[in-house]
Each structure stands twice: as C-alpha cells, then as structure tokens.
C-alpha cells in the first residue's frame, strides 16, 4: 500500500535532484529546468498532504488550490525567466553561468 511517506520520499528525491542540478550544472537553461523540477517536487508534496489530510472523508482542497496558484505563478515566472536568459545570452553570447560574475564583491 502506498502511504504518504512514499509520496514524500519521491518528492524529496525530486527536490534533491533539482537542487543538485541548480548547483552543479553550468548551462543556464538546464539550471532553469532543474528549478522547475524543484517546484514540481514542492507541488507533489502539497498534493500528497492534501490527499492524506482527510476532512470529513474529503481531501483538503485548500492545498490543491495552492498548487494551482503555484503552477500559474510558475508559468508567469517561466516567461520572465526565459526573457532574462535571452537577455543574458545577448550580452554574454553564452549560456554558461561562469560567465556571469556581476555579483562579485
């Protein structure tokens, strides 16, 4: 039987994979995709909690509503993020994050 823990483990692995990608990869597009993966992991957790937190025999729909919010905001974020990546590519002629060191003190 599949319990809440199974969902949480999957979501944790998903998050860890995403985070590792964000840290380790150099290609900014891939980093971006990993970022999305981390978001999905969070969404999965929310849905899982909603499914197992039964109120009067029904799942907790507030959490599922939050997931929809997240997905919409993530869609908007994709638009902005890709625009930034394009702008970055125009100025650096590269999608390698090592080329971007503007934050250096």
């Amino acid at each position: 039987m599949i319990t809440l823990n199974h969902y949480l483990i999957v979501s944790g692995i998903l998050f860890a994979l995403g985070f590792a990608g964000v840290i380790a990869r150099r290609n900014i597009i891939i980093i971006y995709m990993c970022l999305e993966m981390m978001l999905s992991a969070a969404n999965l957790t929310l849905v899982a909690f909603s499914r197992f937190n039964l109120v009067d025999g029904l799942p907790d729909y507030t959490a599922q509503a939050l997931v929809f919010f997240t997905i919409t905001v993530a869609a908007a974020e994709v638009a902005v993020g890709l625009a930034i990546i394009v702008a970055l590519f125009r100025s650096k002629q590269s999608v390698d994050v090592e080329a971007v060191t503007k934050l250096q003190g």
Binding site: V22, I23, A24, V97, V100, T101, L103
Partner: protein, 631 residues
C-alpha cells in the same frame, strides 16, 4: 629685591650687545657700514662699563625674569665678585681690541656686517657666562656662545672646510653640554631646586649637599664629572679637543677672541666658579687633574709638528687650557684631600688671565702676518719677516717669551703658580703631574721657538713673504696695547685688582724654579739648534703631525656608531615597528579578506549552495539540537 643701583649697570652691559646684534640683524640693509661702527661702539661702551664695575662692591642682583613656576624660579641674575669683575674686564678689553683689529682685517670682506653682528652676539653671550649667578643661566649662555662660535667659524661658509669645522665645533660642544646638563640636573635635585652659585656654595658648606657629599660619593663624583664635561667641550679638553684646531678656519680675529682668550677659557672659568662641587669629590678632582695634564702634554706634542701658524697657536692654546684644568683639579685635590684652606685667588684663573692677553696678542700678530702675506698661513712659506714687520715682530716676541715662561714675564709667574701647586700636593697624583707640567713647559718653549725662528728669521722663502709690509695702524694699535697689558699684567696691584692672585714666586720651592727654567733653556736651545736657517722641517714625526690620528679615529666612530647605527635602526624600524604595527595587521586583514572573497565569488550557484547548506543547518539545529537544549 633687585637693587636699582647695582643691577642697572650689569643689565646694560648684558643687553647692549644683544640689542646691537638685533639691530644689525634687522637693519643691515638700511644701516650698511654704520652697523660696523655700531658694533665697535657697543664693544667700547661695554669696556667702559666693565671698567667701572671693577670699582664696585660684591653683589648678586637679579637682572631680568626668565622662568617662574610656583616656588621654582630661574632668573637672569648676576653674581658680581672678584672673579667675574676680573673676567669681565678681560673679555671686554680683548673684545674691544679685537673689534678694532677686525676693522682693518675684515675691511675687504663682503660679509663684514654679518661678521660684526656675530661678534656682538658673542659679546652678549660671553657677558652672560661671566655674569651668570646660577647654573641654568650659565648653561643658557654657554649654548649661546656655542652658537656665535658656530656662526663665526663658519663665516666663510662657502669653503667646505669652514662649514665642516663650524658644524664639528657645535656638535662637539653639544656632547659636552649633554654632560653639563646632567650635572646641573643632579645638583638641582640634590639641592632642592636651588642652582645659584651662592646657594650651592652654602649648601656644600653646611646643607643637603654637604650630607650627600659625605654619604653618596658616587653621586657627587658623577655630578662633578657632569659639570666637568661641559668644560671638556667648551675648553676643548681630551677627548673632545678635536674641534679647536679646526676652528682656526674662522677669521683670525675670531680665533684670537673666542678660540684663544675668552670662550675656550670659559670652561676653566666655570670650573673655578663650581670649584666647591669638584672639591666635594676627590676622585672627580683626580680625574680632572689628569685629563688636564694629559691634554696639556698631548697638545704640546702635536704642536711641535704643525706647519700652519694658526694651528701651532691653536695647539698651544689647547695645551695651556690643559694646564689650567690641571690646576683646577690639583687645587681641588689639595683642598679636599688634605683639608687645606684655599688661598685667595686661583692659580687656574691667574693663568687664564695672563694667557688671555698674550695669546690674544699672538693670534692678532699671526693675523697681521697672514694679512701681510696675502692669506698665507704656512710658516715654511714665510721667513725673514723681522725686517719687514718690526712692530709685529716686537710684540710677537713679547708674546712668545711670555708663553714660554721667560722669567719676569706674565706666563712665568702663572706657570710657576701651577707647577708650585702640583709640587705641593701630597696626593699620589701630584708628583707625576708636576713632571707632566715641566715636560709641557719644555715642549712649549721648543715649538714656540721653532715657529718664531722659522717665521721671522732666515730668508723670505716665497714672493709673498718677500713683499710683506707692516700692517696698518688700526691693526698695530691693538697689538701694542696687548703687549703693554702682557707686560703689566703680572705686576702686583694689577693682578690683585683683576684676579686677586699675586704672582707667587716659588721661593719656598727652589726645585720648581730650577725645573721650569731648565725646561725653558732646553726647549729654546733645542728649537734654535734644530731650526736656525732651515728651509724645511728637519724633524718628521708622523704621529704628532697627524694629531695622534684622533680625527681619523673619530671619523670611524661617527661612521660606525652613528651613521651605521642610524642606518641599522632605520632598517629595524621599517621591518619591525612598521612591520608589526602596520604591515602584519594589514597582511592578516588581506588574507582574511581573500578567504572571505571565495565565498562571494559572484557565482550564483555558489550562493545557492550556501543558501541550501544554510537551510540544512538551520533545519538540523531546529530538529535535533534545539529540543534537547532544555534538558
């Protein structure tokens, strides 16, 4: 309370030359030649005042305020007694004559206004030393004569040798003053802040210093030696004697006034003023006597091989100053060691007084010769001057005879007094110092004969000497007056008036008389035998001609101990102080900075990683550490 009657004359005497010097400094553009006349005039007024002072009573008036803090006060005060009245007369009379002589000697010098201004400054400072009623005031003027001597030796400062000589004179004196100041401070502390000569004297008789002299001999010895160090510098005693011969780079009238008759004798004057300090410590007195004797003998040896007429006289001055210092030490030994009462007057002052006149005359005579020979100073390039310069010859002869101690002349009496003193002292130092004195007397007779014979007899050895003519009357007149003073100075009433010391015939010591006359005959005989009719020096003793290599040794010491040390310390300072205080913290800060810099490399990913790590740590702390903290 300062008595108007007694303080006005000394105040005028002190301030007149100072005002003259200031007026010349500020107004030389306007006054031009008049400033020279002003300087001579002020010297003349000073002479008249000191002549009037000879007839006044002993007094100790306060002339001007200087420092006053609470109970502590130092004023410009005067101590007018037999010693200062006599010294004042010597200083102002020779000062006036030198001013007059300079009118002729410096006639063509472009900077003669500066020369006369500096002379006035010197008269001011020397007056201060003679009048001084306390040690701090004496120190003040002590340094000021050093300054005027610096200015006058360096009068022709374009010449590198003159510039170096003036610097050397000032610095050597500074070393002496270092000790002098320590001595003053020690007496200041021991005598509860009173450094006036009268206060110190009574304190040594019965007071705090009397106690300390008995209980702490080391302290007293160091204080006395500190005071003596001042005299070592000023009176050019071994080992600080090196500046005086070099000081001959100055114009000859200056050499006569400052570096023969008055300023260099100030050391002796001061020692006699402070004789109570020296008498309080037998060991200090012994050291002083020996340093004097050593200087006298060494300088006489060096004088025998000099060829520059002024340098011969300079070494002779050194040697005679050594004599005086030896007398100071010997008398102190006699008084302290043998509980002997000091008689009236002081043999050192007596010798100072006779020496001042004849040595000033010799120097001015040499000035006249140098002037006549177109600034030639080498005695081997002179010769036969007797015919060309009869007056100079006559006065020079009197001076030479007096210096050698020909019986009947002033030098004979004063030298006898010192030799007699050495003979009387029953201390182990007495007898050897007596023979040192006799040996010096013999050498003196020898080198003076050498110089006299080579300069005045024989044939003229150069064109300059051949065409020499007698100096103008303005230069001859001071010579004649000084010759007269030399002749009358040993006469009883004159000597009593000026130095309270009657020429003591060493009748009770026939040995002294015989020894000194024998020394004279041997010295003169050897001189005539060796140098009559010679065109170059038959003797050649490198050690004496090169002044025992003192200059070379000191040059090495200065180079190693001062410049080398300075270089070394500068390096150390850069390395350690700057290194430890500035560079090391700077280095650590830089290292820490670059360590922190790794964390902020600008890589978004490393920031993210740190963020993640941070979150993990926080989660770990919240879950696993915090709940257990309470227990």
């Amino acid at each position: 309370m300062p008595d108007q009657e007694t303080s006005s004359l000394p105040t005028l005497l002190l301030l007149l030359p100072l005002l003259t010097a200031l007026v010349i400094l500020l107004g030389n553009k306007v006054l031009k030649g008049a400033s020279v006349a002003l300087s001579v005039f002020s010297a003349a007024v000073c002479f008249i005042i000191s002549f009037i002072l000879l007839g006044t009573q002993d007094s100790s008036p306060i002339l001007l305020p200087f420092l006053e803090v609470g109970k502590f006060r130092i004023a410009i005060d005067a101590l007018i007694d037999q010693q200062s009245r006599g010294m004042m007369f010597i200083v102002t009379s020779i000062g006036l004559l030198v001013h007059l002589f300079s009118l002729g000697y410096m006639k063509e010098d472009e900077a003669r206004v500066r020369f006369f201004g500096s002379l006035s400054l010197f008269m001011f400072s020397m007056t201060g030393i003679v009048l001084a009623g306390n040690l701090v005031m004496m120190f003040i003027f002590w340094e000021l004569v050093g300054l005027s001597s610096y200015l006058l030796i360096g009068h022709w400062f374009e010449k590198p040798s003159a510039a170096e000589a003036s610097k050397k004179a000032f610095l050597t004196n500074r070393i002496g003053d270092f000790g002098f100041m320590i001595g003053i401070l020690m007496l200041f502390m021991a005598n509860h802040g009173d450094v006036s000569f009268l206060g110190l004297k009574s304190s040594f008789a019965e007071g705090p210093l009397h106690e300390i002299a008995k209980s702490n001999t080391t302290f007293m010895m160091l204080a006395a030696l500190g005071i003596f160090m001042g005299a070592v510098g000023k009176s050019a005693q071994f080992p600080l004697h090196v500046w005086l011969p070099d000081a001959m780079e100055g114009p000859t009238p200056v050499s006569a006034l400052i570096h023969a008759a008055t300023m260099v004798a100030a050391g002796v004057f001061m020692l006699v003023r402070c004789s109570f300090v020296i008498e309080a410590s037998l060991s200090a007195a012994t050291i002083i006597a020996w340093i004097g004797g050593l200087t006298a003998l060494m300088a006489a040896l060096m004088a025998t091989q000099q060829n520059d007429i002024k340098r011969v006289l300079a070494y002779s001055t050194l040697s005679q100053l050594g004599y005086m210092v030896m007398a100071v030490g010997l008398l102190a030994i006699q008084v302290s060691g043998e509980h002997h009462e000091a008689g009236p007057g002081h043999p050192a002052m007596f010798h100072l007084y006779t020496h001042a006149f004849f040595k000033a005359m010799l120097f001015l005579g040499s000035g006249a010769i140098i002037y006549a020979c177109h600034h030639e100073q080498d005695i081997w390039k002179m010769g036969g001057l007797m015919k060309h310069m009869p007056v100079t010859f006559a006065t020079f002869a009197i001076g030479t005879a007096a210096l050698m101690g020909v019986p009947g002349l002033s030098g004979f009496f004063s030298k006898e007094a010192i030799l007699g003193l050495a003979f009387e002292v029953k201390n182990p130092s007495g007898s050897p110092l007596f023979w040192v004195g006799v040996g010096t007397a013999m050498l003196t007779a020898f080198y003076m004969t050498r110089m006299f014979v080579v300069t005045f007899f024989g044939k003229p050895r150069t064109e300059n000497a051949h065409h020499a003519v007698e100096a103008p009357i303005i230069m001859i007149f001071p010579l004649a007056v000084l010759a007269l003073l030399t002749l009358i100075s040993p006469i009883g009433p004159v000597a009593r008036l000026l130095q309270a010391m009657e020429p003591k015939h060493a009748e009770n010591h026939p040995t002294v008389m015989i020894a000194s006359i024998a020394a004279l005959i041997v010295g003169v005989g050897a001189g005539i035998f060796l140098y009559r009719g010679k065109d170059k020096d038959p003797l050649n003793i490198k050690l004496f001609a090169n002044k025992f290599y003192f200059d070379e040794i000191y040059a090495v010491i200065v180079q190693v101990c001062q410049d080398g040390l300075a270089w070394f310390v500068t390096g150390l300072e850069r390395l350690f102080v700057d290194g430890l205080v500035a560079r090391l913290p700077a280095f650590i800060a830089t290292r820490l900075g670059s360590a922190a810099r790794v964390l902020t490399g600008g890589q978004l990913q490393s920031y993210t990683f740190l963020l993640g790590a941070g979150v993990l740590i926080v989660i770990y702390l919240v879950i696993f550490v915090l709940p257990h903290l309470g227990h």
